[in-house]
């Protein structure tokens, strides 16, 4: 990693790969930094290894992702796996950490942030018990190793991930005790407004529901897991029905005995690296919460730093592909001068399609969204920060004392200051603050992020390389 790449792409998911392709087509030297063992991002990770090599998959974005991957490999694009960008020096250089070498400071003419998204949750007492998993984590476990987390499972949450997990559980002959969804059934029908463009997705959803019904699994809408119990290991959980505001209905509780519970409430964009670099963020419920703000060219508020895919808003694989391609073309044009007429027409087409995908994204985010009453009904004894074991009661006490911003609550309670660096609890804490009467007046404020964005071994921090100031 000694030569300077003109463009560093952070993340080898769909957006990063699509950008790399546009850039290499324009003879721009690209280096992709990716934290996973294999390129392809979260979406391709969920393709079983067997079909990954054959390229056999029905879903559009996955199929295009596989095609991109083989193309990048044939073009010998430099992809550094298990490598992370953990920060920057504030002057355009990024700090790159890999398990094999000391931290390096790299510079590039342009940086593209395509760092994806992660799951978020609505905490409940017992959500830290062994046996309680995230829907995404359970899916990776099944697909990665072919092993079910438990022979019987309760799956709950919002957005498309619980459904996707249910399909996998059935495929691997698991039993689904209950499938709960936060939203109302009618909310899903909004997809009809996005026809005909989203017809494939509608059909995909209908096929999936049909498969679940044949297996005797009926999705219970407006339901939530409100507690999980067990001695050292999950044994049972309590579900409750929800009223129209999203609060549990008293008296509707039912106990479900289960050795496995998977929960997930949609995705939040990974914007930490962009924030660390000083890029502006905005809060948009239709995009999954805090997102990096970008121009039509996918450029952030910091000149030369671009973002594509989930960091600019949750909207699925097609949007990531489109934004990656747009960013690639925009970066190529900023480095090489004016684009050809063909490329300009291509950009216009991509932007038009992007708009349609953003409508779909807004639908997805509305479906996954937890209403204020959901956060307001978290019991006080619930752990919010898993690393530091901080309970909601401590956070509420701090808000009462006037520690009512993200930064001050963090300092006052240590919520988010543990090993995971707030990756799990920060989005939850933000929602709690934004819906709390004594804190909401501060308005939404994005988290300020410090390097390292991911934990770094101390010994990697030794021996500064050339180019260090």
């Amino acid at each position: 990693m000694s030569t300077k790449a003109r463009v560093i792409i952070v993340g080898a998911g769909l957006a990063g790969m699509a950008a790399a392709r546009s850039l290499t087509e324009h003879d721009v030297k690209v280096r992709i930094i990716d934290e996973n063992p294999h390129p392809g991002g979260q979406l391709l990770r969920t393709i079983p290894a067997a079909s990954r090599s054959t390229g056999l998959t029905r879903e559009g974005p996955k199929r295009r992702g596989l095609a991109l991957l083989s193309r990048l490999k044939s073009r010998r694009v430099e992809i550094h796996s298990q490598t992370q960008v953990v920060g920057s020096d504030g002057a355009g250089r990024v700090w790159v950490d890999s398990p094999r070498a000391p931290l390096q400071e790299l510079s590039a003419d342009r940086i593209l942030l395509a760092s994806g998204a992660r799951e978020t949750f609505l905490p409940f007492p017992g959500w830290t018990l062994p046996g309680v998993l995230s829907t995404g984590g359970a899916q990776l476990l099944i697909k990665g190793s072919g092993v079910l987390p438990a022979p019987e499972m309760v799956i709950a949450g919002s957005g498309p991930l619980p459904l996707a997990l249910a399909r996998e559980v059935l495929k691997y002959k698991g039993r689904i005790t209950a499938l709960l969804d936060e939203s109302r059934l009618v909310d899903s029908l909004e997809l009809l407004k996005l026809l005909p463009r989203q017809l494939p997705r509608l059909l995909q959803g209908i096929r999936l529901q049909g498969r679940l019904l044949r297996a005797g699994v009926l999705t219970r809408h407006q339901s939530r897991i409100i507690e999980a119990r067990g001695d050292e290991q999950l044994a049972e959980c309590t579900m409750a029905g929800l009223d129209s505001s999203g609060a549990p209905v008293p008296g509707s509780e039912r106990t479900l005995r289960t050795p496995g519970l998977a929960v997930g409430c949609g995705l939040v964009p990974n914007i930490e690296l962009g924030r660390e670099m000083g890029c502006r963020a905005g809060y948009n419920q239709n995009k999954g919460g805090w997102v990096l703000l970008v121009s039509e060219s996918q450029e952030t508020s910091i000149s030369g730093i671009y973002a594509a895919g989930e960091p600019t808003g949750i909207a699925g694989g097609n949007k990531a592909l489109l934004e990656g391609e747009i960013a690639g073309l925009a970066i190529a044009s900023s480095l090489k001068g004016r684009l050809s007429r063909k490329d300009r027409r291509r950009l216009a087409r991509l932007r038009k399609r992007l708009k349609q995908e953003l409508d779909f994204g807004a639908f997805l985010c509305r479906l996954a969204r937890i209403p204020a009453a959901g956060y307001a009904s978290i019991p006080k004894e619930t752990i919010i920060c898993r690393c530091e074991q901080i309970r909601l009661a401590e956070i509420l006490e701090s808000i009462h004392l006037g520690f009512s911003t993200m930064a001050s609550v963090k300092k006052a309670t240590r919520c988010g200051m543990g090993r995971c660096q707030g990756r799990t609890c920060a989005p939850i804490l933000q929602e709690i603050l934004m819906t709390h009467p004594d804190a909401a007046s501060n308005g939404p404020a994005p988290l300020s992020v410090r390097s390292p964005v991911k934990p770094v071994a101390l010994e990697s921090l030794l021996e500064p390389k050339e180019g260090v100031r």
Partner: protein, 366 residues
């Protein structure tokens, strides 16, 4: 802008700054039943008070009168801790300083002799073997160190939070996100403090605004020399117990995280961390505590210490204007109880029992 939107408030004392000094003063004044309003530009402990080791340190303080002064504050801590509710991770187990070379060892030897002039310090020079018996995780290659039983520590975040909580409970009003724009003086007397949205009628102001002390002091025509000094730190993930005491620049907190300090940089108000300094500090930490090699860092951070030119605190009641006080300097954690006591006495009784002649701004004149 319409003037009708300006909120009117009043307070016996307005404290500017929600760091450990301002909060300690607010706490002691509230206990003395004084009506206090504390305004903070950002949030509680948003500056150096929120990013430090929480070192209650006596052994590194010089000259002798400052060692003695720091010791007096450290001696107030057990009672202070108890009155605050005992949840600030206070302990007085002593601390260790290490020397990597024989030359550094000679410096420590001289420090031990100088400091031990103050009764109760009882510092002791340690050879390499004695050092390892006290702190088995340290490198056997160190030349040695000193042991200072009078030193201790707190958790700075818990201390500032407890001060805010207890002050509020006693009736103090704390307003965060509130920046002072101007202080109105009439015929040599303070009349009001103006913030963007508020006019606070008051005759007494305490300027404890940390690195912003000079700007606030200028509002009443006073020059206070304070410069920001950047300190960069590296924080590790929670680790099993490695350090038994504070070891110079290293402290393991109750939750297992280790803070690796620190730098002293004159770079203005820049809180950027730099890879060179991070490497340098981590390099030294790994030489001294080899067990940290495999540990991971979860946070780099930098804060600005408010540093007077001679590195001693400034405690000042201004001449010519009544009543404007200044409380600023490094070592806010060590000096929290004595600072609170001094200003509470000064404001309520007109005098402090402590000798403050060495800490006025006059010392910088001519």
């Amino acid at each position: 802008m319409s003037t009708s939107s300006i909120q009117q408030q009043s307070a016996d004392v307005v404290i500017i700054g929600g760091g450990v000094r301002g909060l300690a003063i607010a706490y002691f004044l509230s206990r003395a039943k004084v009506d206090v309003l504390l305004v903070e530009k950002r949030f509680i402990a948003s500056g150096a008070s929120g990013l430090n080791m929480g070192y209650v340190n006596v052994s590194a303080k010089k000259p002798v009168y400052y060692t003695r002064f720091s010791k007096m504050s450290a001696d107030l801590y057990p009672k202070f801790n108890q009155e605050l509710g005992g949840d600030i991770e206070y302990e007085r187990k002593g601390s260790v300083f290490v020397a990597e070379s024989e030359a550094a060892m000679q410096d420590l030897a001289q420090i031990v002799v100088e400091r031990n002039v103050v009764p109760g310090l009882d510092m002791k020079l340690l050879d390499s073997a004695e050092l390892l018996r006290l702190e088995p995780a340290l490198s056997p290659r160190l030349a040695g160190g000193y042991w200072s039983p009078a030193d201790g520590g707190v958790n700075p975040l818990k201390l500032t939070r407890a001060l805010a909580r207890e002050s509020s409970r006693l009736g103090a009003r704390i307003m965060t996100g509130t920046e002072v724009q101007d202080i109105r003086v009439q015929s040599g007397r303070i009349e009001a403090v103006h913030t963007g949205e508020m006019t606070i009628a008051t005759h007494v102001v305490v300027n404890a605004a940390g690195i912003h002390v000079p700007r606030i002091a200028q509002m009443v025509g006073l020059t206070v020399p304070v410069n920001p000094e950047r300190g960069q730190v590296v924080i590790t993930e929670a680790l099993s117990k490695i350090l038994r005491h504070t070891v110079g620049d290293y402290k393991q907190f109750a939750d297992g995280q280790i803070l690796i300090g620190t730098t002293n940089e004159d770079v203005g108000e820049d809180t950027q961390v730099t890879s060179r300094m991070i490497s340098d500090r981590v390099g030294r930490a790994l030489r001294i505590i080899p067990a940290l090699h495999k540990a991971r860092s979860i946070r780099f951070a930098a804060a600005l210490r408010p540093m007077p030119p001679d590195r001693l605190p400034i405690y000042q009641k201004m001449e010519g204007i009544s009543d404007f006080y200044v409380a600023v300097g490094h070592s806010g954690m060590t000096l929290a109880p004595i600072t609170g006591q001094i200003f509470s006495d000064w404001i309520t009784k007109g005098r402090s029992t402590y000798d403050l002649s060495a800490y006025g701004v006059e010392r910088f004149e001519g």
